[in-house]
């Protein structure tokens, strides 16, 4: 069978760090898939994980549905929020999960759509679930993805970031 679901790079943090970046992403796949598990130093139950495509936050928008365990809301922004980073005030040893799918990331003729699912479940009153449509309004191929902790926060040790390549042939 074809080997089409290929690990490009995996990062497991050995110390606290403010952002994680995949650079020089090979242009040999059809789509990209990113799987993230994080906890961060934010002094709250949840912090925020943000995405910069190709090293900039310009020309980025998102639209999302959120659930917090009691109600559902929707909003939009010019920043791509990937999901909740479980914070320092959350249940010990809990991490959040996020998955991003980026189809046709090498195209130079269309803007880039990003499908995101994020979740933070901590067996506490406050929870967080997001379904997100992200957009980079540029025709440039995607060569880097940077995941940034909001503010001055850091991802903590044992947070993981995996980048996969998906080929359609």
């Amino acid at each position: 069978m074809a080997n089409t679901y290929t690990l490009i790079e995996g990062k497991t943090l050995g110390s606290n760090i403010a952002s994680v970046t995949f650079t020089s992403i090979p242009q040999t796949y059809t789509d990209l898939l990113v799987k993230i598990s994080t906890r961060q130093t934010t002094a709250a139950v949840f912090g925020i994980v943000k995405l910069n495509v190709n090293s900039t936050s310009t020309n980025q928008t998102y639209r999302a549905i959120f659930g917090d365990g009691s109600s559902a809301t929707s909003n939009n922004s010019t920043t791509i929020y990937v999901g909740p980073g479980v914070g320092a005030n959350a249940t010990a040893n809990t991490f959040s999960n996020m998955e991003l799918y980026l189809p046709n990331y090498t195209s130079t003729s269309i803007y880039k759509s990003i499908s995101i699912n994020g979740a933070g479940e901590t067996n506490a009153t406050e929870a967080y679930l997001n379904l997100t449509a992200g957009l980079k309004s540029e025709n440039t191929a995607i060569t880097s993805l940077q995941f940034i902790c909001d503010g001055s926060d850091n991802y903590v040790t044992n947070s993981t970031f995996y980048l996969y390549g998906i080929s359609n042939s």
Partner: protein
């Protein structure tokens, strides 16, 4: 999911011209299926649907949650003959801003249970959807039609890829 041989591209189609439907009909030997549709754009505003085995009976239902950037909503469509909903009526109305659909079809070949699907649909500048679908048939799925809906067509350049997932 383990990396490697269980995520197999079965077939991919990039439309060279507008057409009303894309059909997958040869995909035996897997446990689950994943369909990735990108750069979707309807020629006119219609609601796209997915049908199995050319069944046009009232055997489909869909339940969804949606967000438009200011409010969230949920609704459902029962006993539909059109198929399982795979997006909104205005899916991808821009030629430069792509819309994306990612659809998972579980245990598609079993002959004892109805077939369920889970889809994520991003109309990036307007709405985001998650849709649970059901086809009330115990027949194995042998063909999948992605219909643009009504008199509409998928536009040239849209891509449709079918992947097979093998449990073991």
């Amino acid at each position: 999911m383990a990396a490697g041989s269980t995520y197999t591209p079965i077939t991919t189609t990039t439309l060279g011209s507008a057409q009303s439907s894309v059909t997958f009909s040869s995909f035996s030997g897997y446990t689950d299926l994943v369909i990735v549709c990108a750069n979707l754009k309807n020629a006119v505003q219609q609601t796209p649907f997915m049908q199995f085995n050319s069944d046009t009976g009232t055997n489909y239902s869909s339940t969804w949650i949606a967000g438009n950037g200011s409010s969230a909503s949920s609704s459902k469509l029962s006993n539909s003959s059109s198929g399982i909903l795979i997006g909104d009526y205005n899916i991808g109305m821009s030629s430069t801003i792509p819309s994306t659909a990612i659809i998972q079809i579980q245990n598609y070949s079993n002959t004892t249970t109805y077939k369920s699907t889970l889809g994520r649909y991003n109309l990036t500048t307007t709405e985001v959807y998650a849709i649970a679908g059901l086809w009330r048939s115990t027949s194995a799925i042998t063909s999948i039609a992605l219909n643009a809906g009504g008199s509409s067509n998928w536009s040239s350049g849209a891509t449709f890829t079918l992947y097979g997932i093998l449990a073991a």
